[in-house]
């Protein structure tokens, strides 16, 4: 019984992380009918931001008996969480703006800037514009701003070329194109990660104090697990509030029902889609940061690959486009994995995720909470 409850707790904690990533998948699917395969890699970037912020950017102190240092570290950890959410949200917006929007709306004159940035990247590397990420946050910002300026100038110069091309191309919006692009962005982030972060695995040391709590008959809950669970819960409640009780949330729901009708009603769909990507990216960033900082696992550029796939499965199990479904799917995945992992079948831990997917899709093709006719966000 003790072991059963203990495994259940691990499962729920793991599941809450899957749910956090799955929310990003499901929201994007809801508004765009697009499976954003790059989402798991945003989670990886979140973990790396956690690593650099904790190790190099912010003045964390070595944990000691000094209570001031401990409180300072906890405050700084919250700052890291917010920073990670902010940067990953921005990354989500950038991905949407430059990879998915041109496929949807056609090549616009502003896309010239994207190509400007793309071309200036090797130039910036060549002139060592970027400091090492380990140098400090100020240097990191300096490099980014300098690069953005160069990229902007090059992009402006490219405007005639883009206009020339855009006048000669015919837009054929296709879901398949967007899907393939998503896989491309995912590969770009992973392999770009080898370049920017380096291929050596990184670890984040103990930044906030950890304690074990014993509850009902020997079941142990660790303060870090509790924190992950609580923060995930709070973020999900905030998301629920945004979707159900704000104008933007209303617009998201309208777009997921019918994007063309929403456009005709005067909703700025591109802006709402950007917000959706920002929220999804921020949730993934929070997840990655929490895993890196609170569980001390090794971080590599492929860190987001497997969690991303599992969260995607969770979103499909719950019913793509359905927010409570994503949370439910995440918890199911986490709990199933914990029980299989704890049994004599622990070798098949990852296989079980996909076995569940197949079974549920056979019984309910639209997912547990999904509806066949109309999907909602």
């Amino acid at each position: 019984m003790r072991i059963f409850i203990q495994q259940l707790i691990f499962g729920i904690q793991l599941g809450s992380l899957y749910a956090l990533i799955a929310l990003g998948y499901t929201m994007v699917y809801g508004v765009l009918r697009l499976i954003n395969f790059a989402h798991g890699d945003v989670y990886m970037v979140g973990a790396y931001i956690g690593f650099y912020a904790c190790t190099y950017w912010l003045p964390f102190q070595r944990l000691s008996a000094d209570p001031h240092a401990t409180i300072m570290n906890i405050i700084l950890a919250v700052v890291v969480l917010l920073l990670s959410m902010l940067l990953c949200g921005a990354l989500g917006v950038v991905i949407e703006r430059f990879a998915y929007r041109p496929l949807r709306n056609g090549l616009g004159i502003t896309d010239a800037h994207f190509w400007g940035f793309a071309i200036s990247l090797p130039v910036a590397f060549h002139f060592h514009l970027f400091h090492k990420l380990s140098d400090g946050f100020g240097e990191f910002l300096f490099g980014i701003v300098g690069y953005l300026m160069i990229g902007g100038i090059v992009g402006y110069a490219l405007r005639p070329v883009i206009r020339w091309i855009s006048l000669r191309t015919v837009l054929s919006p296709s879901r398949l194109n967007a899907l393939i692009t998503a896989i491309g962005v995912s590969l770009l982030l992973e392999n770009g990660g080898w370049l920017v972060f380096g291929p050596n695995p990184e670890f984040i040391g103990t930044m906030v104090p950890e304690r074990n709590f014993k509850i009902l008959g020997g079941v142990i809950i660790n303060s870090s697990q509790l924190a992950i669970l609580m923060i995930s819960l709070v973020l999900m409640l905030i998301l629920r509030h945004i979707v159900l009780h704000t104008r933007t949330g209303k617009a998201m729901r309208a777009i997921s029902h019918d994007i063309d009708a929403a456009k005709m009603m005067g909703i700025n769909t591109d802006q709402v889609i950007s917000v959706t990507f920002a929220i999804g990216g921020a949730l993934a960033g929070a997840g990655g940061m929490m895993v890196g900082v609170l569980t001390h696992v090794q971080i590599t550029p492929l860190f987001g690959l497997l969690p991303g796939i599992k969260a995607f499965v969770a979103a499909v199990i719950g019913g793509p486009g359905n927010i409570p479904g994503a949370v439910l799917g995440g918890i199911i995945m986490g709990v199933a994995e914990a029980f299989v992992g704890g049994s004599s079948l622990s070798t098949y831990r990852d296989a079980i995720a996909f076995a569940i997917l197949i079974i549920i899709l056979l019984v309910r093709p639209a997912g547990l909470l999904g509806r066949n006719a109309a999907e909602k966000v």
């Binding site: 072991i3 950890e210 895993v291 569980t295 299989v340 992992g341 070798t347």
Partner: protein
């Protein structure tokens, strides 16, 4: 329109300039008629990737050995030139770079790898081209079974696992659980032999759980192991996961000593584990600052002078592999791969710093092992086991 064309032409020009950086000039390898200008030796190591500290250490040790040999006049009046390739900790990359070393750089011997999985990937290629391969630190027994051109200068997993079984028995552990990496030949091999030897000594294996390289959550498996009340848990894995496993074990209240093997030997281990590994033990190659041997102390000093930090056991193994190769090159009747193979196969009592190396009929070395204990954030020498004591 004209402006556009000029822009495109400019972009192409920039692209051409940038792509020019990729080119390299090839040095002249073969000298005038009748001979080599230098002896080409290949080295493939995991300089980056999951087990980057392994490859960096063996490579540094090997490079130091070659440098010292060249400073002492080289072999047969020729300097040795080391061609180094990074396999990024991936077996298929190892296969590619070893093929490149043999077919493009025309090396007459290959030194590498630490991870058995990668040595197993490269060995068939060396065997196929009949180029002697020396693995400094791959302990899986299958590596040298790939053919008569494959040599090993460290002990095998069978020996290491038996040492751990004896050690667990000597410590008075009666019940030991095993947590192994199901995707790693090294881990599976040690678990198997340990279970056999430990049962033979009268101990009980309480249970076995598995994980996979790259996993991040081990709590479910550890919780099951905890329920079996073991006296200790054997984790024959690599440092990249062991640190996280140790932390999570302590988190769920599994507070028994953890036992490991030479895959734990990395400066990053403590960084990953914090103080979760305090009071744990692992078997390692016969190499420690605590051993007062002049050759070993000299290596410590030389290595630190060249690289700026203290060497680990893998660096010493790389150094030994390099010196053994130099010795065999000197003894070889000619500078051809087959003559070198014969010289390597007849190595007897070569004085390596990690112990005397005698290559047996299966092209393996028999050497002593040590048990290291982790105390706080330091690793200290705890015990020595010689092959005679284990007597396999």
């Amino acid at each position: 329109m004209k402006g556009v064309h000029r822009l495109v032409a400019g972009m192409l020009a920039v692209g051409l300039i940038l792509s020019g950086y990729g080119c390299r000039t090839h040095g002249v390898k073969i000298g005038g008629p009748g001979g080599l200008q230098y002896i080409p030796v290949g080295d493939f190591s995991s300089l980056t990737g999951d087990t980057a500290t392994f490859g960096t250490s063996t490579h540094n040790g090997l490079a130091l050995a070659i440098e010292q040999a060249n400073a002492a006049g080289g072999v047969k009046n020729l300097p040795i030139k080391l061609y180094t390739e990074d396999d990024q900790s991936m077996p298929d990359v190892a296969r590619t770079v070893v093929t490149k070393l043999i077919t493009e750089d025309h090396v007459i011997a290959v030194v590498g790898e630490v991870a058995s999985t990668r040595s197993l990937a490269a060995a068939p290629i060396c065997q196929q081209y009949k180029i002697p391969m020396i693995t400094p630190a791959s302990t899986n027994p299958a590596v040298t079974k790939k053919g008569d051109y494959i040599f090993r200068t460290c002990f095998t997993d069978d020996f290491q696992a038996a040492v751990m079984a004896h050690f667990a028995h000597d410590q008075g552990y009666k019940r030991v659980a095993v947590f192994k990496d199901i995707r790693n030949d090294y881990s599976i091999g040690i678990a198997k032999i340990f279970e056999r030897e430990f049962t033979k000594l009268g101990g009980t294996i309480t249970g076995e759980q598995t994980y996979q390289e790259g996993d991040t959550d081990f709590k479910a498996q550890l919780n099951t192991l905890k329920g079996q009340n073991p006296d200790a848990v054997l984790i024959p894995g690599y440092y990249s996961e062991v640190g996280t496993i140790a932390r999570q074990a302590r988190e769920i209240g599994l507070n028994v000593p953890l036992l490991g093997c030479d895959g734990w030997d990395s400066p990053k281990l403590i960084q990953a584990a914090g103080n979760a590994l305090n009071g744990c033990y692992f078997s390692d190659h016969y190499f420690s600052k605590d051993i007062k041997d002049p050759a070993m102390q000299k290596f410590f000093a030389d290595y630190k002078a060249k690289y700026g930090y203290t060497p680990d056991a893998l660096a010493a193994l790389g150094f030994d592999a390099g010196n053994l190769l130099v010795d065999a090159l000197k003894r070889a009747k000619s500078l051809t791969p087959s003559a070198l193979r014969d010289a390597l196969a007849t190595t007897k009592d070569f004085p390596g710093i990690t112990g005397k190396i005698t290559i047996d009929a299966n092209r393996n070395a028999r050497k002593a092992a040590i048990i290291m204990k982790i105390v706080g954030e330091k690793k200290v020498l705890y015990k020595v086991y010689t092959p005679e004591e284990i007597d396999q």
